[in-house]
């Protein structure tokens, strides 16, 4: 039989298999080239783990840092508000003291009505401290209120005290902290011409209801650009939750009250008394109740950019 050489060899060797010695696998495992490959693989895996670890650690650090910043901001804001609510009290000391007593508890106030002479005020601080102490977060704020009135108490006419008492009683009856705080902020806004009327409410809600902004039901932008381009022209917080007794207040860094809104749809357009405000930081205070009736106060800074 005749057959072409090529075909003979192709048939025989196309799938030719030769026996293999047993040690070949071990030799491959010990081959320097293979060892090098394994080492490289190890290094690659290690570096992947290292990169992952770095990413996790750095993201944790960033989160922590941001949280600290928020806390600091919160402290700054409350410090500013304390200053600005204390300022009028230093000028009209006794009245504010009276109000401090009257708002939280009417009963405490009643004790103060009959006689408002010096010995009476000596009692006041104790009443006040007993009613306020467990709630106050910043005791520093109370101390000036207590100390200063004791010295200048005599100057206060009784009529004034009674009207103050009425106003605050009304407020207490309403049991509406939003209203109180508006009045408070309005009174502050009036550059303290009638200082006695409603200052104490600012103190009480500020100190008592310092809720954590992290639990806010709102998503609050931190900057806006009221330049009329239709984009972010108005600062207003947005929420999908049920909100009651909502009120937004804007303050300048100087403490001046600039804006109030009680409607979720109505935000600040960057103007005050018809004039455009300058770029810079402003403070917002958002007070509201959630559907369980719990009161919230969200505070923070916002940046106005022109």
């Amino acid at each position: 039989m005749k057959k072409h050489i090529d075909d003979i060899f192709k048939e025989q060797f196309e799938q030719f298999e030769a026996p293999v010695s047993d040690g070949l696998w071990d030799k491959i495992q010990q081959n320097p080239g293979w060892q090098q490959h394994l080492r490289r693989q190890k290094i690659r895996n290690l570096s992947i783990y290292a990169v992952l670890a770095v990413i996790v650690i750095s993201s944790c650090a960033v989160l922590l840092h941001q949280r600290n910043n928020i806390d600091n901001q919160d402290i700054e804001i409350s410090a500013i508000e304390e200053n600005f609510s204390e300022a009028p009290q230093s000028t009209t000391t006794a009245q504010s003291n009276d109000n401090n007593d009257s708002t939280p508890e009417v009963s405490a106030d009643e004790t103060s009505i009959p006689a408002d002479s010096a010995p009476e005020t000596a009692v006041d601080p104790t009443v006040q401290s007993s009613s306020n102490a467990p709630e106050t977060m910043t005791p520093a704020e109370d101390t000036p209120n207590i100390i200063i009135p004791a010295t200048t108490e005599h100057a206060v006419p009784q009529d004034n005290a009674v009207t103050n008492e009425k106003a605050s009683e009304k407020a207490a009856n309403n049991n509406n902290s939003n209203k109180n705080s508006t009045q408070a902020s309005e009174s502050n806004n009036k550059s303290n011409n009638t200082p006695g009327s409603n200052e104490s409410p600012t103190n009480t809600p500020n100190t008592n209801e310092n809720t954590n902004p992290n639990n806010s039901l709102f998503s609050i932008p931190n900057a806006f650009t009221p330049n009329g381009d239709g984009l972010n022209d108005v600062f207003k917080p947005v929420t999908s939750a049920d909100i009651y007794q909502y009120q937004l207040d804007i303050f300048a860094m100087s403490g001046q009250h600039i804006f109030t809104s009680r409607s979720l749809e109505y935000g600040w357009n960057g103007e005050f008394q018809g004039g455009a405000q300058n770029s810079g930081n402003y403070i917002y205070v958002i007070k509201y109740k959630d559907n369980s009736g719990r009161e919230h106060i969200d505070k923070g800074q916002l940046l106005l950019i022109r």
């Binding site: 057959k3 050489i5 090529d6 060899f9 196309e14 070949l24 030799k27």
Partner: protein, 179 residues
């Protein structure tokens, strides 16, 4: 029976178990290829080692549509050529005049020559002839591809092939006469 595809997937994930499976399935084929190119059994074993390391380190380049067998075959032949090149720098295919007459390349053959004997015939060929015959005839590369791989002219390859065929024909005929 584990499919080749699963073995490849395992090898791509650098799983030692899959690598061992691939080795067990294809080591004889690799060894056979190595022996065709390299007559010395010890050298052939080294060659097989190199081939497997190449397979394991480059398996992530294997595309789905290519079968594992043909890919391993390709890796094996390339590695063999590389090794021959490294061993004999540079691997030269001696220039060969094309014979005027190609002659009849058919020979009497009765399917009775054991494969080991035929392998020995190949291994006895001069290195140039052997490499070219392996590449172009058994492994089925085109002369063009082989010329690129060995960096020589196609004519030389054809001539070397003819020479190899002549030698092999003579050997087969002698074998048939003696037995």
């Amino acid at each position: 029976m584990i499919k080749d595809r699963d073995i490849v997937a395992g090898c791509k994930a650098d799983k030692p178990k899959s690598q061992r499976l691939l080795y067990d399935r294809y080591c004889r084929l690799v060894m056979g290829t190595a022996l065709r190119y390299c007559p010395n059994p010890e050298e052939a074993e080294d060659l097989a080692q190199e081939i497997f390391i190449k397979i394991f380190t480059k398996i992530h380049q294997l595309q789905e549509e290519i079968t594992l067998t043909s890919w391993i075959h390709k890796i094996a032949t390339h590695t063999c050529i590389d090794m021959l090149r490294a061993k004999k720098k540079p691997l030269t295919i001696p220039y060969e005049e094309m014979p005027n007459e190609i002659g009849d390349m058919n020979c009497n053959y009765y399917d009775d020559i054991p494969t080991e004997k035929l392998l020995a015939f190949i291994q006895d060929l001069p290195e140039g002839c052997r490499t070219v015959f392996n590449l172009c005839v058994i492994d089925g590369l085109s002369y063009e591809e082989a010329a690129a791989m060995l960096s020589c002219s196609e004519t030389t390859l054809r001539a070397q092939c003819c020479k190899a065929r002549k030698i092999l024909k003579k050997k087969i005929e002698n074998y048939e006469k003696t037995y």
